[in-house]
């Protein structure tokens, strides 16, 4: 309304009255078009998700015959069945792998970020370049050598394989994220603590880390989103059914329950819920992480 209002108020000396009116109509049409695009887009984004959640409560008959209608009753038993048929196990595995990689990635990255922005390392530039280069290398290209490497060091088909890889491949991004924030902290803080007799390590744990909490939360949330959803490594490096994480487990579940749509959809809903909730709760931290990481 602001743009429309101001264009009407303006004493448009050069325009005739009809020109002004047509400008108003055109602006109004533009607005309508814009709003419909935004609205249509919101529906397109939300509807498939809504369909997934609701269909998880239906039975096969309802899904096939009334695909658009809401479920006649809430069949929670679909969710219970999906849970028992594997989701509980995949869920547990994902929690382990995601949790461990969050702790490892944030701590190791914060530790390194501190070294990179506060201490003068011999060959410090080379280290920074090495980390930066890590951003350019992609997991897909490393699949075959990693398969050999993990087999030879005995990590193949263990949770450790995923924990180590999710940590290693995300360290470059996380270091840059944390470093961008840490570098803004006043050096006077370190100096004051040094005068009080604190060692470097103590300063890191007691002063710097607590001050970095906002960015650590962002880093942890982004790592959670990544590790919870990662598929390629989990597909190639885990073959034991009982160790599979959710993304891979769901595909196995779909092929096992080919004709039981409601149960698979209930499983999908349960798999999607944690990251969606995390995003809704931690939106601000999420966006900070995304834009700091991308924008710098």
């Amino acid at each position: 309304m602001i743009a429309l209002g101001s264009s009407m108020e303006r004493p448009a000396a050069s325009h005739g009255g009809t020109a002004r009116a047509s400008l108003g109509v055109r602006a109004l049409a533009g607005r309508l078009l814009g709003w419909s695009l935004l609205g249509a887009f919101a529906v397109a984004m939300l509807y498939p998700v809504l369909w997934m959640v609701l269909s998880g409560f239906k039975d096969n008959q309802e899904i096939f015959n009334q695909p658009w209608a809401p479920p006649g009753e809430l069949r929670w038993e679909n969710y219970a069945r999906a849970w028992d048929l594997g989701v509980v196990r995949y869920f547990g595995n994902s929690v382990i792998v995601t949790g461990a990689s969050i702790v490892a990635t944030t701590l190791i990255s914060a530790w390194a970020a501190y070294g990179l922005c506060r201490l003068r390392l011999p060959f410090g530039n080379a280290v920074a370049l090495l980390v930066l280069g890590g951003l350019l290398l992609s997991p897909t290209v490393a699949l075959i050598p990693l398969f050999r490497l993990l087999t030879s060091i005995g990590l193949f088909d263990t949770h450790w394989a995923l924990i180590v890889l999710y940590t290693a491949f995300r360290i470059p991004f996380t270091i840059f994220l944390i470093r961008a924030y840490m570098i803004e902290l006043p050096r006077a803080v370190d100096e004051a603590a040094t005068i009080d007799g604190a060692t470097r390590t103590q300063i890191f744990w007691r002063v710097i880390l607590p001050m970095c909490r906002p960015i650590l939360v962002s880093a942890a949330l982004l790592q959670a989103l990544f590790a919870w959803n990662e598929f390629a490594f989990a597909l190639v490096f885990i073959s034991d059914e009982s160790l599979k994480t959710l993304p891979v487990g769901l595909v196995a579940m779909q092929s096992r329950l080919l004709t039981d749509w409601p149960v698979v959809l209930a499983g999908l809903t349960m798999a999607a819920l944690p990251t969606i909730l995390l995003f809704l709760v931690g939106q601000r931290q999420f966006l900070r992480g995304l834009t700091e990481g991308v924008g710098k």
């Binding site: 984004m45 498939p48 369909w51 190791i108 530790w111 201490l119 490393a142 595909v251 798999a271």
Partner: protein, 295 residues
């Protein structure tokens, strides 16, 4: 001596990160390049040097070219939606929508990106189902039922259906990045333009577009290299089929390595992916460095 010791001790700060990077990120990339000159499989686990044979085989293989073409299609379509549509959406959000409503819409748009690609892939394989899926049902409902088909099961439509789903998942994500970039533009620019009588479209082209150029470059680069690395959604929805029609480099490499046990060939495909994505990334660095000197 003492200072030298403490200087080297500072290495302990970066040691864990550097060690993990070297062993699990850098070594595999280098090793992959080496392996692409060898031939081996489960029965002869000792790699045998074959020179450029793998490369000759790869470049003579029509499936390889098909995969490369599909990756390119992925990049082109994604550019239109990620760099184009999402910028328009972000600009509309900022121009038209009040603060509270804007937050709500932004959240809605981002939700698909918060879901795992497997969840989305499996969900869409239901939506694309030829008999009971919503896509065909929707076409029926608007009288276009004759366009309905087995979206993932036909050679002509499989890869396009996967690409479409991928756009659904990531447009909102990119739009959010653009929203942030637009919010960094000083409000005064728009106010001044408004006083001069510029309309919304004019302001979009003369203020918004140039001011988000840096973010646009970044998104273009990320989108292109993402398109050449794509793996998950194709694997989940079609595994490259039917008849290799939706194969991309990532899935082709996976199939060659872990199903056909042709490791050397697969390492060669991986090297091709590496060269393409590394070139794109280097281009990005060059562009951003030049801009820094310009400024």
């Amino acid at each position: 001596m003492g200072t030298l010791l403490t200087r080297w001790r500072t290495w302990l700060w970066v040691l864990p990160a550097v060690a993990l990077l070297l062993v699990f990120v850098y070594y595999p990339i280098v090793d992959n390049l080496r392996l692409s000159f060898f031939s081996w499989n489960a029965f002869s686990p000792e790699p045998r040097f074959v020179g450029l044979d793998n490369y000759a085989e790869t470049f003579a293989d029509p499936v390889f070219w098909r995969a490369l073409l599909n990756n390119t299609a992925y990049a082109v379509v994604s550019l239109v939606f990620q760099a184009g549509l999402s910028l328009v959406l972000a600009a509309l959000l900022e121009e038209l929508v009040g603060k509270r409503m804007r937050g709500l819409l932004r959240t809605l748009y981002f939700i698909p990106a918060a879901m795992s690609i497997t969840v989305v892939g499996v969900l869409f394989s239901f939506l694309y189902n030829p008999r009971y899926g919503l896509v065909n049902a929707a076409l029926d409902a608007v009288g276009l039922g004759h366009l309905g088909r087995a979206w993932l099961g036909e050679e002509s439509s499989a890869i396009w259906s996967v690409i479409a789903m991928s756009q659904w998942q990531s447009v909102g994500y990119t739009a959010v990045l653009f929203v942030v970039a637009i919010q960094r533009i000083p409000r005064e620019y728009y106010e001044a333009a408004r006083v001069d009588g510029s309309g919304a479209v004019r302001m979009f082209f003369s203020i918004t577009l140039p001011m988000v150029r840096e973010m646009t470059t970044l998104i273009v680069i990320l989108t292109i290299s993402g398109a050449f690395l794509v793996f998950n959604e194709v694997m989940v929805m079609t595994a490259g089929g039917p008849d290799n029609s939706s194969q991309v480099l990532g899935t082709w490499l996976y199939r060659k390595a872990f199903f056909e046990d042709d490791m050397g060939y697969a390492a060669t495909v991986a090297t091709v992916i590496f060269v393409i994505t590394f070139a794109i990334a280097a281009l990005q660095l060059a562009v951003s460095r030049r801009r820094r000197y310009d400024a």
